[in-house]
Amino acid sequence: MGYQIKEEKVFNSGHAACPGCSEALAIRYVVNTLGPDTIGVVPPSCIAIISGPQPLSSMRMPVYQTTLESSAASATGIARALKAKGNDHTKVVVMAGDGGTYDIGFQSLSSAAERNEDFIYVCLDNEGYMNTGAQKSSSTPHLAYTASTPAGKLTPKKNLAEIMVAHRIPYVATATTGYPDDLARKVAKAKEMKGLRFILVLAPCLDGWGLADNAGPKVSRLAVETGVFPLYEVENGERYTLNYGSKGTPVVQYLSLQKRYRHLSQAQVEELQAEANLNWQRLQGKLS
């Protein structure tokens, strides 16, 4: 889409992420786009590890580490206090994992969305509780192996983007680390808006998904090109814009790079292909 990424150096090298980590890449584009006049909120997650142990920090901005279920409420407290102080320039951003967003943090997120609180919520979605050793979350996809679904998860991934769209908040976007310009553009766009802005970033986990150290960006791009994770934006719960979607690439190409799917039978691969097709069709029906 020809977007020129503009970064301010907020996220620093020397952080504690695994080599090749997609999440660290996502954090870079999020905080470097928002700039230093930002306060971060981070629940327990790999993001908390990456942001650094006291007294060190990988980010040149204040970061408040909260409890797993409280990110949106904690961000609300900061946003309201800034408003009470007459500060209309400092941005507040949550960076939380899928466990802290889809599961235990969903109640406070839904409530903050309903109140249209003034902050940006970025969910760095690696489709499981990867920081505790890869257990399933409600973001884990159908049939994927995790430590708590050794035979493969029996139910589909929760469609959180659409749930957030249903809150009719000003901005919902999906993004992924294989498309850094698209991710940075969405953060920059959200930065200029008010109210609750929600960005769902698919961030492949090398360890949890069973990927080669250099496979993060490739898997991320395949998630989009196969139609498993299309990139789109929705404004005010209605106006859908597709950024990148299925190129008709078979889903098996996405699955075969990941050890979490290596137990699948041919029939199961076909089942996941059919599901991806159906989800892609449903999304297209919403595009105006």
């Binding site: 230093p36 590890i49 204040p62 407290g77 309201r80 206090a81 009470a84």
Partner: protein, 385 residues
Amino acid sequence: MNERSSRILVNGNHAVAYGVKLAQAQVVPVYPITPQTPIVEKISEFQAAGEMVVELMTAESEHSAMSACITASLTGVRVFTATASQGLMLMHEMLHYASGARAPIVMFNVNRTIGSPWGFWPDQTDSLAQRDTGWIQYYCENGQESLDTVLQAYRVAEKVLLPAMVMHEAFYVSHALEGVEVPDQEVVDQYLPVFDPPHRLDPDIGESWGNTVGQEMFYRHRRDLGLAMESAIEVAEEADAEWRKLTGRSYGIVEQYRCEGAELVIATMGSMAGTARETVDNLRDAGLPVGLLKVKLFRPFPLAAVRRVLNGVPKVMVLDRNFAPGTGGFLHQELKAALYGLEQGPVVHGYLAGVGGTNVSPTVMADWVREAMATQPAAGPVWKG
């Protein structure tokens, strides 16, 4: 009669709301629960009428309300919330988080029974079960005391950088109408300095909070929290003395009532102190040497004050409107521990009285005093009406 105040007829909860308005709390995250709700309703009315400039956040749970309180406080504004019973239980995790973050939030908790089964009755078990969360705790017996204590609590909390919860009991105090002196704003402004913490979440400062720490740093952090809590005793005494200078009203961290030459001292907290004061007067009139120790500040526990009041007293009768299965009344347990090793310390009766909100009349209380004076205490708690 103080010239710098106005006298109004309000219930205990509305008295609290007047205190919050005078403190000029800037962010108030709330979640409704009986019997606390009139506090935040009144604050909402103040806001709607333009009498109070406040960010009201209608959270979806008490857990989120407390989570927002912590960060708002850390961002450098004065914060208030109110809850009761199940709401306080749901906050439990964040109560620890708040004191760990050294966020000087003031919260009002209306003491109410905890389910199951459901009940709406005065019982202090909800807040007493939070005694180890690192919050300063005050127990009040009427609306005036609650209003005054909210303001004292801000002064203490912001000085020692610990959160404070102030209690009165469901309905007996929360919904009872009483005449209350509401001090003028200028009196409170003189008393409460502007909240301007040097450490806060602010990009210009760049400080963070909550990141993982090593063992040594955790140890130092807990030790510092303990030192702050210890220092709150003196700060609370000073805050009370200063309030007396400005308004003529003070309560002490404990109240010693007619204890001179007492053969037995009733020890209790909250609304039962009012009943006990009347009982003491009645029994003194009948020639029985009886006094009252009201414990107002429960955290930090006023160890020295309690030992001073009870040294040389032969017998104490503790009345606990609360219950911890397996140990008994909270005040009973804490008092026994506080008195241990005192050379002329009293023997201690522990009566579970009014648990679940049952009524304790001065007549019944007087009967208990006579019984306690005539018997040796049991080692454990004794169930009374």
